[in-house]
């Protein structure tokens, strides 16, 4: 069983002191930004990306992945104690988590959130290991038409599952693709949209773009109005371990949340957000006492919290097996691997088993670290919740500036970041989401290359996309999704997610 021997050597790799330290830094930073307002996992990963240039790719991925799943833990803490979701995927946790806290049961709520997250995260890692390897073997047979069609399907799903308006998500997607074409054309070597600016030869850099959109613009949105102080529920944090009755109620939601989260997490777009929501509605529907939901039902915390962490493992599958990042976070990991000279794709797992299994092993260890960070040390995070924005926001801006400059020692990059900070601010004001833009920006060059290669190998026949079963299937599903966007299950889900997001 090559899985086990690989995993065993990966555990040896991960428990090397450097990797343990970076793993800890990752999950610590993740929890921190999950708790603090003004910056999310994507922005934090962009800021820390330059730090990873000097370290090995395995260590880099270990740290960056830690930020991602760590933020899910931190986000639930604010949902439960402040009724403000730290991350979008912990929005539904507010519904029952905050009610539990108000009834003096903050301890068990935080406890079940952390334990459920741990179980869901662990389950999805096992799933990731067993599903990604066979999938990448299938993907080896894919040619440019299949890749083109799969990316189209991915982007359609992202638009479909977007929080707000479908058409606005589509606009962001196309805008991102256009930004991705800036610079030297991969195939002809011709310059596009460079406007005579030398720095644009290699295109717009990923790091300043993401920092601007997710760091600077977020701060600008936060400082546009008078800063209110956040009221943290003053509650005694005792009995963090849920009692026997809590466990009885939570076992079902945790099992269902693990499965739901993992499989929905594979879908491009807001896998974690979607799965937390679907889990909540499922639990409410099958519950014997649905009237308790919204008034502090522990099932409403256990299910979604398990699901959103299970989704993080699922999200790695398209990236690691196919080389197609399914969301903005994975797009950033993709960018990080490229910077280290590694091109994710079907050959990624066979050629870099150390990174693949190393990431899995590190996430396992990281989840354990998070359990320790979030249960006994919960008091520390609650104190951090009270850090005022007036200190925090200038610091975030400063870190963005230093980060953007240090990538290439280029003032132009800093300029790009500040400009996209303004662009991102305006987009946020008009309710456009930035995640599809970043994803499309990364996918753009790959999509174009696949498109043009398909045309070249088929001698200009557009039918090439429809005569191959996989590419035909993917494109048909994409078109069907567009046509059906007015009806169906996902439409209702979308409507609910938007509604909850606005509350």
């Amino acid at each position: 069983m090559h899985y086990y021997s690989n995993l065993l050597s990966a555990f040896q790799l991960v428990t090397a002191p450097t990797n343990l330290v970076y793993c800890f830094v990752g999950v610590f930073m993740g929890t921190l930004i999950g708790v603090l307002p003004g910056i999310g996992p994507v922005g934090a990963m962009a800021i820390l990306l330059p730090v990873t240039f000097g370290i090995s790719p395995v260590t880099a991925v270990i740290m960056l992945a830690g930020i991602y799943y760590g933020a899910q833990y931190g986000g639930s803490t604010t949902s439960i104690l402040v009724n403000i979701p730290g991350e979008a995927s912990t929005v539904v946790t507010c519904l029952d988590g905050y009610q539990m806290a108000r009834k003096g049961r903050a301890g068990p709520a935080l406890g079940i959130a952390a334990l459920g997250s741990f179980i869901g995260g662990t389950f999805s890692l096992i799933g990731l290991m067993f599903l990604a390897v066979p999938l990448s073997e299938v993907a080896l047979k894919f040619g440019p038409p299949e890749y083109f069609a799969l990316m189209c399907l991915g982007m359609t799903l992202v638009i479909y599952l977007a929080k707000g308006s479908l058409i606005k998500a589509a606009v962001m997607m196309v805008f991102g693709l256009i930004l991705g074409t800036v610079g030297t054309d991969n195939i002809s070597g011709k310059l596009r949209f460079d406007f005579g600016i030398e720095e644009l030869l290699e295109g717009i850099h990923l790091v300043p773009l993401v920092m601007g959109l997710f760091g600077v613009s977020e701060v600008l949105v936060n400082i546009e109005k008078a800063l209110g102080s956040r009221t943290v529920l003053k509650t005694k944090l005792r009995n963090l371990f849920p009692n026997v009755e809590d466990w009885k109620k939570s076992t079902g939601p945790i099992i269902r949340g693990s499965l739901l989260g993992f499989f929905l997490g594979i879908l491009p777009g807001g896998g974690a957000i979607l799965s937390s929501f679907v889990s909540y509605t499922t639990e409410k529907r099958i519950s014997k006492h649905p009237e308790e939901f919204g008034y502090g039902a522990i099932e409403g915390v256990a299910g979604p919290e398990t699901a959103n962490n299970a989704a993080t493992g699922g999200a790695f599958i398209p990236l690691m097996a196919l080389g197609i990042p399914p969301n903005a976070v994975m797009a950033l990991l993709f960018g990080a691997l490229l910077i280290h000279g590694i091109a994710p794709g079907p050959l990624f797992i066979p050629t870099h088993p150390d990174i693949f299994y190393g990431t899995i092993a590190s996430m396992y260890i990281g989840n354990m670290m998070l359990l320790i960070l979030n249960l006994p040390l919960i008091g520390l995070w609650v104190k951090l919740l009270r850090v005022p924005g007036q200190i925090l926001f200038p610091l975030i801006l400063l870190f963005c500036l230093i980060g953007a400059y240090s990538v290439n020692n280029s003032l132009f990059d800093v300029m790009v970041m500040v400009v996209f900070g303004t662009v991102g601010y305006v987009l946020r004001k008009y309710e456009y989401e930035e995640a599809p833009l970043v994803l499309a920006f990364i996918l753009g060059p790959m999509l174009e290359t696949a498109f043009r290669q398909s045309l070249i190998i088929s001698d200009g026949q557009l039918s090439v996309f429809f005569t191959r079963p996989i590419s035909c299937g993917a494109l048909v599903i994409s078109v069907a999704l567009f046509l059906l966007s007015g009806v169906g299950f996902f439409r209702r889900v979308r409507a609910k997610v938007t509604q909850i997001g606005e509350e």
């Binding site: 195939i187 400082i223 200038p394 500036l401 400059y405 240090s406 008009y430 456009y432 045309l455």
Partner: protein
């Protein structure tokens, strides 16, 4: 869609057309040998098409004089603070390599601390001094990040 959506819809429409025109000049090529302009041309057209439903819808809202979404997105926004924050970021870019990381960062933080919280100058002064010292220590001394040296070559 709301009334104010019309502004960005126009931006997308014009941007899409502009991209399509520029791509056309880049040579579209033929289907059997696609040129560098083909993909951006398609994208530009798509962007313009995508902007149309927003345009039509928000225009309808304007025409029917609906009050919907009139709780303007800009109400209560402190423009002075917003513009000052933006300006100080752009200003930082201009002075960073001229006067060095330490001094430029100190000035930036002083402004940011002052405008974001309207605290007293003394408070902003102390906070920025401390922050500069700490960040200098972390980034330059510990992480060995290359940042523009100051006028006196101490950083």
């Amino acid at each position: 869609m709301k009334k104010q959506d019309i502004i960005l819809a126009i931006v997308w429409f014009v941007l899409g057309i502009a991209v399509a025109v520029m791509s056309y000049e880049l040579k579209l090529g033929k289907l059997e040998s696609p040129g560098p302009g083909l993909m951006p041309f398609i994208l530009g057209i798509t962007l313009s098409i995508c902007s149309l439903p927003i345009l039509v819808h928000s225009f309808g809202v304007v025409k029917r004089k609906e009050k919907r979404g009139d709780e303007a997105i800009w109400s209560g926004v402190n423009f002075k603070r917003l513009i000052l924050a933006q300006a100080s970021l752009f200003g930082y870019i201009f002075i960073l390599e001229k006067i060095g990381f330490v001094l430029a960062t100190f000035l930036l933080l002083l402004i940011l601390f002052k405008i974001i919280d309207s605290q007293k100058w003394l408070w902003a002064l102390i906070a920025s001094t401390l922050t500069v010292i700490i960040t200098f220590f972390i980034f330059v001394v510990l992480l060995k990040v290359q940042l523009p040296p100051s006028l006196w070559r101490i950083g």
